[in-house]
């Protein structure tokens, strides 16, 4: 008892010795180093977030000062604005179909690269390159590839005798065309998966072989579960990014045939910088924020059920 007492007293003494001088010094030093970020955080994140929340309740074209209108923006959006519904639907389509497609493509590519092959850096480079091509350039290239008469795909298709496929000019095919381009540019996700795949312990594979698993079963029961943290990370970042999808949709189709590619971000840009309805656009931005948070929380909550963190027995 006495020994415990004295060690406890010693611990208190050490801690209080640290608290006074050392911890205050550490606190000031830490805050000092973090201060550029902190100031930036207040200026470029907190202030705009609060400001746009305020603007969401006003009518504001930049020329005249903001004019308070209460919830009108939000009610107009949700109830009356058909373009808003179309935009939200288009973006949800992209998220629900495009994000899983991209993740699957990236994972499959990484799995293929994970084998023992020569020239792996070369192949890896070929798959990664499309993702660093500037969006503008890839928009021009794909616009040419998808050209209904002379494009790469259609010229081959028509020379064989079929009818040309109207990739970007048909409302039905416009979004799938964009999803294809998205899957083409999955390089960064592929690299993350490659790193995760190489971290899967060999012992698990060997154990499954002893149990008589064939290649497909090994893939499904060992590889994928061990990579679920990486899959979660890629899915979350993909989700957040896809909700803000702008560049390719704008450059290729500018809202698209019959508003088929009028994505949320594009309609927001239109309202803000073409119609100069800043208040309306701010309300849209906040709805987007809430939607993203909801989806992120849903994915994160569900992750407790399907993500295995390292160290857990399979």
């Amino acid at each position: 008892m006495r020994i415990l007492d004295s060690t406890a007293v010693k611990r208190q003494a050490i801690r209080s010795g640290r608290t006074r001088r050392q911890e205050i010094r550490n606190l000031t030093a830490g805050l000092l180093f973090v201060s550029p970020w902190l100031i930036g955080f207040l200026l470029w994140t907190i202030y705009p977030v609060l400001a746009s929340f305020y603007y969401g309740f006003t009518r504001y074209d930049v020329v005249r000062s903001p004019y308070f209108v209460g919830l009108t923006n939000y009610t107009d959006l949700v109830v009356k604005d058909t373009s808003f519904h179309i935009a939200l639907g288009n973006t949800l389509y992209l998220v629900i179909i495009g994000v899983p497609a991209g993740v699957v493509v990236a994972f499959l590519l990484a799995s293929i690269l994970n084998n023992n092959i020569k020239f792996r850096p070369a192949f890896r480079a070929m798959f990664f390159l499309p993702s660093i091509v500037p969006a503008v350039a890839s928009a021009e290239v794909w616009r040419w590839v998808y050209n209904p008469r002379y494009g790469l795909i259609n010229s081959i298709v028509t020379s064989v005798g079929f009818r040309a496929i109207p990739w970007l000019s048909s409302p039905a095919l416009a979004k799938p065309s964009l999803i294809i381009i998205n899957c083409w540019a999955q390089g960064t996700a592929m690299l993350i998966f490659l790193a995760a795949l190489q971290d899967v312990p060999r012992s698990l594979y060997d154990a499954s072989l002893v149990d008589g698993a064939n290649a497909l079963q090994r893939f499904w029961h060992v590889t994928i579960p061990m990579c679920t943290p990486a899959i979660l990370f890629v899915t979350l970042t993909s989700l957040i990014g896809t909700f803000q999808y702008f560049t390719l949709g704008w450059l290729l189709t500018e809202g698209g045939p019959k508003q088929a590619t009028e994505f949320y971000s594009i309609y927001l840009y239109r309202n803000a910088f073409q119609y100069f309805k800043m208040g309306y656009a701010s309300a849209m931005a906040w709805i987007l924020f809430i939607v993203i948070v909801v989806f992120t929380v849903i994915v994160f909550r569900s992750s407790a059920r399907w993500v295995y963190y390292g160290g857990e027995a399979q």
């Binding site: 606190l27 970020w37 930036g40 293929i112 091509v133 503008v136 656009a281």
Partner: protein
């Protein structure tokens, strides 16, 4: 034969699999599988590279060749003149310089701010450090659209529109993504180094400057490369902050060229311009492939 195999240093699993000893079956089955793998890889690589190859191929064509069905792959003759002609028709050099004019300062800004903030989050122990870092990470979830409008209005009142300031100055305050990357790296630097320095009486800044920075060359290169490529590819930012043609970076300029090149040779010129826009990024990638791959792996593993 089994006993002999067991006494050899074959792995038990291989023996159970029946591979050990059955050399012929092993060789052919394995060889076929590897051939199949290489075929798949080559086909896929070709498919992925196809749009880019098509871009280069079109940029070397003359006008009638562009519209030929079935498509011509290697134009004959190869019209290299397309490239100089694009450079003269459109002030491409100016657009290149413009892009550099905001990309390079923002790289410098990001390097400074991320390393400072990451050291604050990783190298010193203070109360509330991890909570604040968590908040920093959460800001990555805020869509750009939410901050875009007030930022635009603020910059308008400040008179910063039509300059590169809105694109460069925020970089000097730090972006959470790069702070995250750098911090993960700093966490791997053993604390004995900084502890020893503190015992010797170094201020935290000296520790940062003399110990952490020199050690983190690789992660700083990664952060710098990422930011440069992000700045090079950035479209929405310049779109809303810049209005005058002379200020356009390469991304906006390429979009503008779509309407400039309307007469003959439109598509070859456009593809030549696209190739020139893509080239620097590809060069950077080829040179720094190792760094880039390592950096991306860093985000995935620790994230």
């Amino acid at each position: 034969m089994r006993v002999q195999q067991l006494l050899s240093d074959e792995r038990p699993v291989d023996i159970l699999r029946g591979k050990a000893g059955s050399v012929n079956n092993l060789a052919i089955g394995d060889w076929l599988r590897r051939l199949f793998l290489y075929v798949v890889l080559v086909v896929l690589s070709f498919a992925f590279a196809l749009p880019l190859l098509w871009m280069i191929s079109t940029s070397l064509k003359t006008d009638p060749q562009v519209y030929h069905i079935p498509p011509i792959w290697v134009p004959n003759p190869i019209r290299l003149m397309n490239y100089p002609e694009v450079l003269t028709q459109v002030p491409f050099g100016l657009y290149f310089l413009n892009t550099l004019r905001y990309a390079l300062p923002s790289v410098v800004g990001v390097l400074l701010s991320s390393s400072l903030a990451a050291y604050g989050f990783a190298g010193i122990r203070w109360r509330g450090r991890d909570a604040l870092f968590f908040i920093a990470i959460c800001t990555m979830m805020v869509p750009f659209q939410v901050v875009m409008i007030p930022l635009y209005i603020t910059f308008k009142h400040l008179g910063w529109l039509n300059s590169y300031k809105p694109l460069v100055i925020p970089a000097f305050f730090g972006f959470p993504y790069y702070i995250f990357l750098t911090r993960q790296f700093f966490l791997t630097i053993p604390s004995e180094l900084s502890d020893a320095a503190w015992v010797d009486g170094c201020s935290p800044f000296m520790v940062y400057w003399r110990i952490f920075l020199p050690l983190s060359r690789s992660v700083l290169v990664v952060v710098g490369l990422f930011e440069f490529m992000a700045a090079w590819n950035n479209y929405l930012g310049p779109l809303i902050y810049l209005n005058r043609d002379e200020l356009y970076p390469v991304a906006l300029a390429l979009r503008m060229m779509r309407s400039t090149f309307v007469e003959k040779l439109a598509w070859p010129y456009l593809m030549a311009a696209s190739t020139m826009v893509v080239l620097p990024v590809i060069l950077i990638f080829v040179i720094a492939q190792g760094f880039l791959v390592e950096g991306i792996a860093l985000t995935g593993i620790k994230g």
